[in-house]
């Protein structure tokens, strides 16, 4: 049995935080907190959890650039797999509970509701990333693994648009129930800006030159 000491504080925190949405849903299920429309409630919660975790996975590299927080890189796979887990629950609930596996209705819905089509695309693109997230595949794919996992740069905006278009309002005119989707979009855009090589180099050199007090440059236990 591995003892708890083998886990770093960040690791423990991350597992606790990533399972929180699931724990909360189970708690709500027992206390009547799933609202009058539990299926939609669970769909929305798991969808949001998945998107949040994907964005956190995208935040790993920029946070490392800004703060030299390299332990985060080791936690990225778990973030992605938690996101995939929530996305799976999200999709399973949609197919099984929301649409009762009525395939003709599901097909009709996918093509009549562009936001569902976007969600389906995001989910399908996520599958190869989850499958190849393990070391065997990383070794087998070599450099191509990195390119494959850059798919996330497309999956996150697709999923964000899926979220935004499921809401009442006009996302691109900042009108209606678009506040939360825009919050996700803005964080995503910032994380992408921090990936631009010039920006990245600027912040990396700034950190080393200034020896910023909040720099988290812990020696890595191996």
């Amino acid at each position: 049995m591995p003892s708890l000491k083998r886990y770093t504080p960040l690791q423990i925190f991350m597992h606790a935080a990533a399972s929180f949405p699931l724990v909360r849903l189970v708690f709500e299920a027992f206390t009547g907190g799933l609202t009058a429309n539990p299926i939609q409630h669970i769909e929305q919660r798991t969808g949001r959890a998945a998107l949040t975790l994907l964005i956190l996975a995208l935040a790993v590299t920029p946070l490392n650039t800004l703060f030299g927080w390299s332990e985060l890189i080791k936690r990225r796979r778990a973030l992605g797999l938690y996101a995939f887990l929530y996305a799976c629950v999200h999709v399973i609930i949609f197919l099984n509970l929301d649409y009762g596996l009525a395939w003709s209705l599901i097909v009709q819905t996918v093509f009549e509701k562009p936001y569902i089509l976007l969600g389906a695309a995001a989910f399908l693109l996520l599958i190869p990333l989850a499958v190849t997230s393990f070391d065997v595949w990383k070794a087998r794919l070599g450099k191509r693994w990195k390119y494959l996992h850059m798919l996330l740069y497309f999956i996150v905006p697709i999923a964000t648009l899926h979220y935004a278009w499921g809401k009442k309002g006009d996302f691109f005119h900042f009108s209606g129930e678009v506040g939360r989707p825009w919050a996700y979009a803005i964080v995503f855009i910032m994380l992408m800006i921090l990936r631009i090589p010039a920006v990245r180099r600027f912040f990396a050199s700034l950190r080393t030159r200034l020896r910023l007090p909040f720099s988290i440059n812990k020696p890595q236990a191996s």
């Binding site: 907190g33 609202t35 009058a36 429309n37 299926i39 939609q40 409630h41 509970l97 929301d98 649409y99 009762g100 009525a102 209705l105 009709q108 819905t109 009549e112 509701k113 562009p114 936001y115 278009w165 499921g166 009442k168 309002g169 006009d170 005119h173 900042f174 009108s175 209606g176 129930e177 678009v178 506040g179």
Partner: protein
Amino acid sequence: MSPFQSNIPSSEITPKEVFLSRRDVLKAAGFAGLGALLAACAPQAVSSSGAQAAPPDVPNSLEDISNYNNYYEFTVDKARVAPLAKDFTSRPWTVEVGGLVNNPKTYDVDELIKKFQPEERIYRLRCVEAWSMVIPWMGFPLAKLLAEVEPASDAKYVAFETIYDPDQMPGQKSPLFPWPYREGLRMDEAMNDLAILATGLYGDLLPNQNGAPIRLVVPWKYGFKSIKGIVRIELTNEEPATLWSSASPNEYGFYANVNPNVSHPRWSQASERRIGELTRRPTLMFNGYAEQVAHLYEGMDLAKNY
């Protein structure tokens, strides 16, 4: 024929004698076990429809109706409206009725209730988000109020406005919506007997989160047409702007009739989830009220006038 095109006879209004006898039962029972009692009475109240193949319409519980609300003036989170609206002040409250009328007047809401004697109307409510409920409103026909203020001959539309009070309604601080909430009906729609001003729910006064003290209910249209917390009613000769048609013009039209054949640009409207049920139901034309309202739209292209 696809189950999504089936049409059912639709008069779900409680026959008056049933309503009256139910009222006596309720009075006798007092308020204890109100929900359970009504649930037991409900099937009887709506069984007269004689619909073939159409699933029965059983009123949703007061618990569900008053804890799952779209009322963006408070929050966009449907489960959080009730706690946020708990301390909302719905008295004293006046409703100003004016515009193109011969007798403009400002009414106290209690005066309206006394004058027009609300009766129970059990209606389906279909949200544009594709969920629905069955709700036993207490209300009176909008036509009665309009008759009293005497519309001028050039009045063609009725515009409604919700109270604007960001101190009480935190959602109104959001810059993403063109507050205050506005809605409108064409004159003949407003005069239809199904259109009511509701002041109560399950025989009691309207809970704050359901639009207290007075709201519109137009059951053949998507729920967002049924504007809540009304402070102003104005008769006009031009189609009034509404909050949703201003916020997202190509998605929310003026008419917003429930129509399974016309999709919202981003949502199919063919089916819906009845709150409390596990399987989806086919959505009915005019939310099942075609018999009463279809004639209002004869000759109109409903795909264009969505």
